[in-house]
């Protein structure tokens, strides 16, 4: 628990160990529902939950950074919308005969919260979806996509290392350029060696692929993930909650009008959907917390 607070769980959390489909459904739905809401209650809930999950992933030290970046997003959106949108009725002042209104700022601020929440959810997505998981997801779309992503992950470290070798080789030949122009020229030369070398070795790579039957019809995509019962249950629960939220969005129960004057929503009507959204967003916390407690008990007992 202390570790959670201090450093966060990173990719080691229980939720991050679920099947990639569970992760993907959660993050896309969380971001999606947020994008279709304009009601302050939903936006605030989403941002708060995202912040909470960021705490779980990165620990308390990471929080300050996220808080600041969100504040900046909100402030920028607020100012931009306030100065460029003139639809509101409550005029504060005029600039070049353009109305600057309270509603403009208000709408901007809440769009900022929405943007901050979506950015935060995708940030968490990026943290939880390690290479294997991304490859799996792309592989589900089309086997070739999964392979391409996998090859990219393979080539980045390879090219980096090769470039280091080339750079060292050039340096140890006495090709030590001075001045910005000379240095840039030397870098370009090193880059061109890298390209030539990599093209050469890619002939062997493509031979190796062809030799192992690449290009045959009906390629499948292998992975090491197993859909456990818990994953299926989670998918079902999430699916049901998403469906409910979909109905709510359709009925306009997550929305609010800001122009020409803000119409505060009927909170009573929105409350059931808000609870539904809250339950959905709380799922990863629940899973991670349960996992942590399990470990704690396990360590105490052994």
């Amino acid at each position: 628990m202390k570790q959670l607070w201090e450093q966060g769980l990173g990719e080691k959390g229980e939720f991050a160990a679920c099947h990639p489909l569970v992760n993907a459904l959660f993050f896309f739905a969380a971001a999606g529902i947020t994008m279709f809401s304009m009601s302050p209650a939903f936006l605030a809930l989403s941002r708060a939950a995202a912040l909470g999950y960021q705490l779980v992933l990165g620990g308390r030290r990471a929080l300050a950074g996220y808080g600041w970046s969100s504040a900046v997003i909100v402030a920028v959106m607020c100012l931009v919308n306030g100065f460029f949108s003139h639809d509101g009725q409550t005029v504060l002042f005029y600039i070049n005969s353009n109305r600057i209104t309270v509603e403009g700022f208000l709408y901007g601020a809440w769009s900022g919260v929405m943007l901050a929440a979506v950015v935060a959810w995708f940030g968490c997505f990026g943290r939880v979806m390690t290479g294997n998981r991304i490859i799996y997801l792309f592989g589900r779309l089309a086997p070739v996509c999964g392979l391409v992503v996998s090859m990219i992950f393979r080539y980045i470290p390879l090219l980096r290392r090769r470039f280091e070798v080339i750079h060292a080789g050039q340096r140890c030949m006495g090709k030590t350029a001075t001045g910005p122009v000379g240095k840039a020229r030397q870098r370009v030369k090193e880059g061109s060696i890298l390209v030539a070398w990599s093209l050469e070795s890619s002939i062997e790579s493509s031979d190796s692929m062809a030799a192992r039957g690449y290009g045959l019809k009906g390629r499948t995509s292998f992975h090491l993930f197993r859909l456990s019962r818990r994953d299926v249950t989670l998918l079902a629960v999430m699916g049901a909650l998403c469906l409910a939220m979909g109905v709510g969005i359709g009925l306009g129960c997550t929305d609010m009008y800001y122009y020409p004057v803000p119409v505060w929503p009927d909170w009573g009507r929105q409350a059931p959907w808000l609870i539904c959204f809250g339950v959905f967003l709380a799922l990863p916390f629940g899973i991670d917390l349960q996992g942590e407690l399990k470990w704690k008990r396990y360590e105490l007992n052994s």
Binding site: R154, V165, G169, C172, G174, I193, E204, D207, A211, G218
Partner: protein
């Protein structure tokens, strides 16, 4: 399982002068282990590629290659991919995906197997090859030997009937190479897979093969069991066939001393014991060994071209140091060979000399200058140069000539002088006949020489070479050794990092053995190898009981001949 039959197969690459294969006849029975040897460019690879439909080069083909009764070029795609496995030279460029498990599954994915079936086969292969420990690791963290083993395993996962291997161990260090070749042998014996293997390093694999084919200029010069082939090459009309120089060391040592050449070290040793019966053995060492001089006995600093003094280095704070108080001297005008296993700090020491890593304790002096206080410009112009392991890291131009010129282009010299020097270097490196070719089209040995030539044009006094013999056939090695020796006689100081014990024994003035971040023994090759029990040349292993000072094949051969 079917028989592979090659009948009167000829092949010519487009625009090539002569044929790459010239009326080759060959039959390989199911489950056989065939070794194909010959110098670089003799047609080994071309022949192997003719047996793999997906990799058949473009060009004019006559004659045929059959698998059972079907020409290999007409096998259905799926069958050809699954039944013929092909492993190439370079461990790195054959890997396609980012994770070990994914690489193992790659071929099976292509065949369209369902996830469950792939899982089972991958599990089987990982267990057979002992890969389970690094099953989930990214491939970029593996060693060269592990990478090549992974390449083999991912081919084997497709359950091929025929395994074609094109110099698969040439880029590996001796220990990894030996492990790899043993694995191939195991596959051949246990799974009954037909193996066709081409290789330069024959010491180990030669006695393992069922049949050996020796190729020369696109033809099969000799074919038969290892023993038959050895004998044929030795008794070649008009003196031993040139390829006999590429045979295992034991065979060369017994060239004239025995009617049938021995194949293994054990056989050679038994024969030698027979021959030496009754001869006086030197007194066995029963006393405590004399106090050995500590390694790193130094000469005056003025004579040292490179000096490492008590150098400590670790890649990360808190990590195990890679160099632990290393003391090493390269004397002016000498050829020092640095030997040692993988990961003992040899390359890191070279990096320290080049200033690529900064020691956190100790000093590195190059030509009397402290590298920590010397600018790159001062260090590398006319003083020090490094030839990287992979010559491709240096090539920028489209012809050999221009490549050499590029090596000198940055120096403040008149144009004619630059051209003259580049021209002279072509001769020194014995690559004049290649001057118009693209560096990428040269063979490994020629590329290596071009790289050395290019680096030398900068006019260094001290040359560091990292594994210069990697992947070279014995003939290229000999040429390279000769060229380097000549350069040394002209005043160049050489420091060679190598795994190649025989090469170092033959050419260097002094050898140093690295272990655990320091030099544990050093000396001139004769005393150095005589003092080693395990880490020594084949000739020394064979003769050391009687004559510990013998270290090269040639010496051993002459000694045996005298005894007759």
């Amino acid at each position: 399982m079917e028989t592979i039959r090659v009948e009167q197969l000829s092949f010519r690459y487009p625009l090539a002068q002569g044929p790459a294969l010239d009326k080759v006849d060959l039959t390989v029975e199911p489950g056989e282990f065939l070794l194909i040897c010959g110098r670089s460019g003799c047609g080994k690879s071309t022949l192997l590629r003719q047996l793999k439909k997906e990799l058949m080069p473009y060009g004019r083909r006559e004659g045929r290659a059959l698998y059972g009764d079907t020409p290999i070029g007409q096998l259905p795609d799926r069958q050809s991919a699954a039944r013929f496995g092909f492993v190439m030279q370079n461990p790195d460029s054959q890997l396609v995906t980012d994770k070990v498990w994914h690489e193992l599954a790659f071929g099976l994915e292509n065949l369209g197997l369902p996830v469950g079936a792939i899982k089972r086969r991958v599990a089987e292969m990982a267990s057979y090859f002992g890969i389970q420990e690094w099953f989930r690791r990214p491939v970029c963290e593996l060693s060269g030997g592990q990478k090549q083993l992974l390449n083999l395993a991912s081919v084997m996962a497709m359950q091929p009937e025929v395994l074609l291997l094109d110099e698969p161990a040439s880029q590996l260090d001796p220990i990894a190479a030996s492990e790899f070749l043993q694995t191939i042998y195991k596959i051949n014996r246990e799974l009954g897979t037909t193996v066709l293997l081409s290789e330069h390093r024959l010491e180990e694999v030669f006695p393992l093969a069922d049949k050996v084919a020796v190729m020369e200029n696109g033809r099969i010069a000799a074919f038969g069991t290892p023993r038959q082939v050895a004998q044929t090459l030795r008794d070649w009309p008009g003196g031993p066939h040139p390829m006999f120089q590429g045979m295992p060391a034991v065979m060369r040592i017994f060239q004239d001393a025995s009617p049938t050449p021995p194949l293994t070290l054990r056989e050679g040793r038994l024969r030698l014991a027979e021959k030496m019966r009754g001869a006086n053995l030197p007194e066995p060492e029963t006393e405590l060994p004399a106090k050995e001089p500590l390694p790193g006995k130094s000469v005056p600093a003025a004579e040292a071209a490179v000096e490492l003094k008590d150098v400590w280095f670790a890649y990360q704070r808190g990590a195990e140091p890679v160099l632990r108080g290393l003391n090493l001297q390269v004397r002016r005008g000498e050829w020092l060979s640095v030997l040692g296993g993988n990961g003992v700090g040899k390359s890191t020491a070279m990096k320290a000399v080049c200033g690529q890593v900064k020691p956190w304790r100790g000093k590195v002096l190059v030509d009397g200058l402290d590298t920590a206080k010397t600018s790159d410009r001062e260090l590398f112009s006319g003083r020090l140069a490094l030839v990287p392991q992979d010559p491709l890291a240096l090539f920028t131009e489209i012809t050999v000539e221009e490549e050499l010129y590029e090596g000198i282009s940055h120096l403040p010299l008149p144009e004619e002088e630059k051209l003259r020097r580049a021209e002279a270097m072509l001769h020194t490196m014995e690559i004049s006949h290649l001057q118009g070719q693209n560096p990428y089209d040269l063979s490994g040995g020629e590329q290596q020489r071009l790289a050395i030539g290019k680096v030398l044009l900068g006019g260094p006094k001290i040359l560091l070479l990292d594994e210069p013999t990697k992947g070279l056939d014995p003939f290229f090695k000999k040429t390279l050794g000769g060229i380097l020796k000549r350069l040394q006689q002209e005043g160049l100081t050489l420091c060679v990092v190598s795994h190649d014990v025989d090469f170092c024994a033959e050419y260097s003035d002094r050898c140093a053995l690295f272990f655990d971040g320091e030099v544990v023994s050093e000396g001139e090759p004769r005393s150095f190898f005589a003092g080693n029990r395990f880490y020594t040349t084949t000739a020394n292993q064979l003769a050391r009981r009687w004559r510990p000072e013998i270290i090269t094949c040639e010496e051993a051969r002459q000694w045996l001949n005298q005894r007759n």
